[in-house]
Each structure stands twice: as C-alpha cells, then as structure tokens.
C-alpha cells in the first residue's frame, strides 16, 4: 500500500482541476472498490480527490422532458429507494438492491458503480500475470479456474466479467452517462460506456482522462408494468452474479410491443442483443419465444471449461426471467428465481 495525499473538491469544476493537476490521482466517492484495490496494492494513486461534496451531483430529479437524472454522487441505496425510481424504474431499483450488501449500497455512489473493476481472481492476485493489470503479461484465467468468467465478447487477452448489477438495468433502460472534463461536457449512450476487452483489457470504459461522471439520465420509458431482475449466484445474497438478467416488456395483451433484455455476469460489459429484442417484437410473450430469443442472445457464446455451465444457465435464466417479468409482483428479495 502506498501513501497518498488527500484533497476535497468543492464542485465539479474544482474536481476536474484537481485531478488534472495531480498526476496519477484518482477520484474517491464511496471508496468501496477503490480503497479495497489500494489495500491489495493493485492501485497506487498519488492522491485521492474526494468528490463526496459535489452537491450539484447529489440529487435525483425529474427533468422537463420527463427523463430522470440520477446524480453521480447520489448513493446506490438512496437511488434504489427513491420514490421516483421505485415508481417509474422499478427494474433499476431491484437490480441495485440485488448488488453487494446494505452497508456497501449505503456507501457506493452511482458514478462509482459504473467504474467498479472486475472481481476476476487473477486480476486480484498480484503474484500472477494479468493483461488487465499488466498489459501483455498474459491471462491465466483462460486455462485456469474460470467459473465466474465470461462466455460472450471475450478476447485472447481477457475473459473477465464486469460485476455490476445496477449497470445491467441501466443498459436495459438505455440510460445515458453525462460526463465533464477538461474539454467540456459530453453524453455517452450506455451501450458505448463500457467496452469489450479486445487487445486492451486494461481499459474498462470510454471515460476520458481527467473526466468525471456527473449524472446518469434515464429515458422517459421505465417499463414499470412488466419487468424483472433475476440474479443467480453461489449463495443467496451478497455474492456476485454467475448470470443475471434484466428483462423489460411493453405488452399489448400478451403481445410484446417492445422488449429489452440485458445480461450480467457473462461479459466484460452489460450484454444486449438488439437482434433478439427485435425478434420478440409483435410476438406472444411465451416461454418458447423467450427460448428462441435466448438462442439469439447466446449465439457465439463460448465456455472456457469451468464456466461452460453458464451457457445453459443463461438460456434458462432468460426464459425464467421473461416469465417473471409478466408477473413482477412475484419477485423475491435478493432477485431470486420466482414462479
């Protein structure tokens, strides 16, 4: 563990100045991932810029066009239990509450949730090679114990998964990430925020150097009638997903007008298939159709030995969660499977 200096930012502009004037510094909000990585000697910030006091990024507000803005500094728990989110975006609420523990959700910020790093065992073990930690050093996960690893969008260099639950719902809802930096403000569609590993697995996302996430916007449509988040894991609570699914439908009777399906625990980013969602449009909401959509989503899926089971598990999870989304009231605490 290295020593570091500590500075508190008063506002977003000040935060950007501080990060750009302190080489190798990092922002800290909840600290739930960063402090842990620092304790494991996996990250070595020269300074921490505390962004917990950026009041302009702390709120959850409805915008003029009925979109909803989640402040990046708002806490995961405050977001999940916010009346607007529980009412209009219950899929997001359920996904957040399926992640981590109550203590961590009280600490973790919305912006930080997007920036958390993989929990690949090899990434966390500084004694072994890892292309994400040290580009070019190798990936022992491919031939190693890879039960928790990716089946979609993998590369020769990396098979790590992105561990967030919240982001799986944000992907399904087509959220937009608003960022500020030395070159001004920009907005990044959620689909483009996280990236596949390719030959640069050390880069998790498209946030630029010196940029800060200020907020996340949710489109007006929240799919509050038919939605479900299902999370399958090795213990009932406080574990990362082996496979998770966020499903949302607009229905006319039993006919699907629009469908959103995003998978977690299977890739380096939240995984969506526009083709599968288009396939479901104007079809009956039945297990058979969900199975056909699942085959489209999982086309090209590839296991690495210990995680081969994930392909079948993901298919079953997509079908089950499709049925659960027809009856959202059946959802159980912890996003367990329900009827």
């Amino acid at each position: 563990m290295n020593n570091f200096e500590y500075k508190q930012a008063g506002n977003t502009k000040n935060a950007i100045e501080l990060i750009n004037n302190t080489p190798d510094a990092a922002f800290v909000a909840g600290g739930t991932n960063l402090i842990d990585l620092w304790k494991y000697d996996l990250t070595h910030p020269s300074g921490l810029i505390d962004i917990n006091h950026l009041n302009e990024n702390a709120e959850i507000t409805t915008l003029k066009d009925k979109k909803v803005r989640l402040g990046a500094a708002a806490r995961n728990a405050d977001t999940a239990y916010h009346p607007i989110i529980e009412g209009r975006y219950p899929l997001l609420s359920k996904a957040i509450l399926a992640g981590a523990s109550a203590q961590i959700r009280n600490m973790a910020s919305n912006g930080g949730n997007l920036l958390q790093r993989t929990r690949c065992y090899y990434f966390y073990d500084a004694d072994v090679p890892c292309n994400k930690r040290e580009p070019g050093s190798g990936c022992p996960a491919k031939e190693g114990y890879n039960r928790i690893h990716a089946i979609l969008g993998t590369s020769e260099e990396c098979i790590a998964v992105f561990p967030s639950d919240m982001c799986i719902a944000l992907a399904a809802l087509e959220a937009v990430v608003n960022v500020s930096g030395p070159n001004g403000d920009r907005s990044i569609p959620f689909e483009d925020f996280h990236r596949l590993p390719g030959d640069r697995p050390d880069i998790d996302n498209t946030l630029g150097k010196g940029e800060i996430i200020t907020s996340i916007d949710l489109p007006e449509e929240g799919f509050s009638e038919h939605y479900s988040y299902l999370k399958l894991r090795d213990r009932h609570s406080y574990a990362f997903a082996l496979v998770s699914v966020a499903t949302a439908f607009k229905l006319n009777g039993n006919v699907i007008e629009s469908a959103r399906i995003a998978l977690g625990g299977v890739s380096h980013k939240p995984w969506r298939s526009i083709e599968a969602e288009a396939f479901l449009k104007d079809k009956e909401a039945t297990a058979e159709n969900f199975a056909a959509a699942a085959d489209l989503i999982l086309r090209g899926a590839k296991g690495f030995g210990s995680n081969d089971f994930k392909i079948q598990l993901a298919k079953k999870a997509i079908i089950r969660n499709g049925l659960m989304a027809l009856n959202p009231e059946s959802q159980l605490p912890g996003a367990l499977p329900s009827a």
């Binding site: 020593n3 842990d36 304790k39 109550a102 600490m107």
Partner: protein, 156 residues
C-alpha cells in the same frame, strides 16, 4: 496530517490523521474504541459496521478524513447508559452469538437497518442483514432477535 473532527457516540474528537487511516483504525487505534472489530478489512464480513449520519457503513473501506464532522455511532454508543438497547437484549435472549466477534457489527447493522426502515418481512431482514457474516452459524438466532424487536417483542 489532516485535521479531522469525528463526533462519535455524541462526543466530539479533534484528530490529526494521515489521509490513509481508515475510519476503523481511527476508532480502534486513535480513540481506543475497540468494540468495532476488524474482520477481513476488505468489506466482505461486516464486522466493522458502524452507523454514520444515520446509515450503516463499513468503517474498514472508509477513510476517516472523508468523515470529517460526521455523526458516528459505534457499538459502545448503542446502549442507553446501563440500559441495553432492545436489540442487545434480544441477542442475549435468542442466543444470537457464540464467539461474539461479529456481534458488534451485527448489532450496529441491525439497529441501522431498523432505522433505515426498508425491512418488512423475515426474508427482507435476512436479505438486508446479508452483509454481516457469522462463522459460528448463529444466523437463525440473529434473525429471530431482530424480528422480535421489529415486531415489538411478539416474535417466537
């Protein structure tokens, strides 16, 4: 060194801290409040749970300097003088511990959870207490104790 004011169990402490001192170490090593336990020190076990500004948090993953001016309640501040908090009494009544190492975190977490007000059913209590591990396996007693207090002492 960073000047940091911590209000712990309604007492004000002025400290000069290095920025990398965790809230857990500040409580234990600087304030000698050793009731809060260091279990994993990585946010996986919940033994270090304290209540900060009304919300339960993990003191091991929190830098003390980030909590300047915050109101913190540790296990030492849960009882009202010599009178046990109902959760503490219920833990005794329900055999909710064996070795006791996770107990301060369990009790702070339970008190925080009841304050937060999102647990309604037994299943929700189990889910919202999942950040506190008990390796002795006293979980059934722990949940029984919390349910009794939550339901006003009527739970068997």
């Amino acid at each position: 060194m960073t000047k940091t004011t911590l209000n712990v169990n309604q007492q004000r402490y002025e400290l000069n801290l290095l920025p990398w001192v965790s809230l857990l170490d500040a409580l234990r090593e600087h304030l000698k409040l050793t009731g809060t336990k260091k279990g994993c020190d990585h946010g996986q076990c919940g033994a270090c749970t304290v209540i900060c500004d009304g919300k339960r948090i993990l003191s091991c993953l929190t830098l003390a300097v980030m909590k300047n001016d915050s109101e913190i309640t540790t296990i030492e501040g849960i009882a009202g003088g010599d009178e046990l908090h109902p959760i503490q009494q219920a833990f005794i009544d329900h055999d909710a511990f064996q070795c006791g190492y996770c107990t301060p975190g369990q009790i702070c977490s339970a008190v925080g959870m009841l304050q937060e007000g999102h647990a309604h059913t037994r299943e929700e209590v189990q889910e919202l207490m999942s950040g506190n591990l008990c390796r002795c396996g006293a979980n059934v007693g722990i949940i029984d104790a919390i349910m009794e207090v939550k339901d006003g002492g009527t739970h068997e």
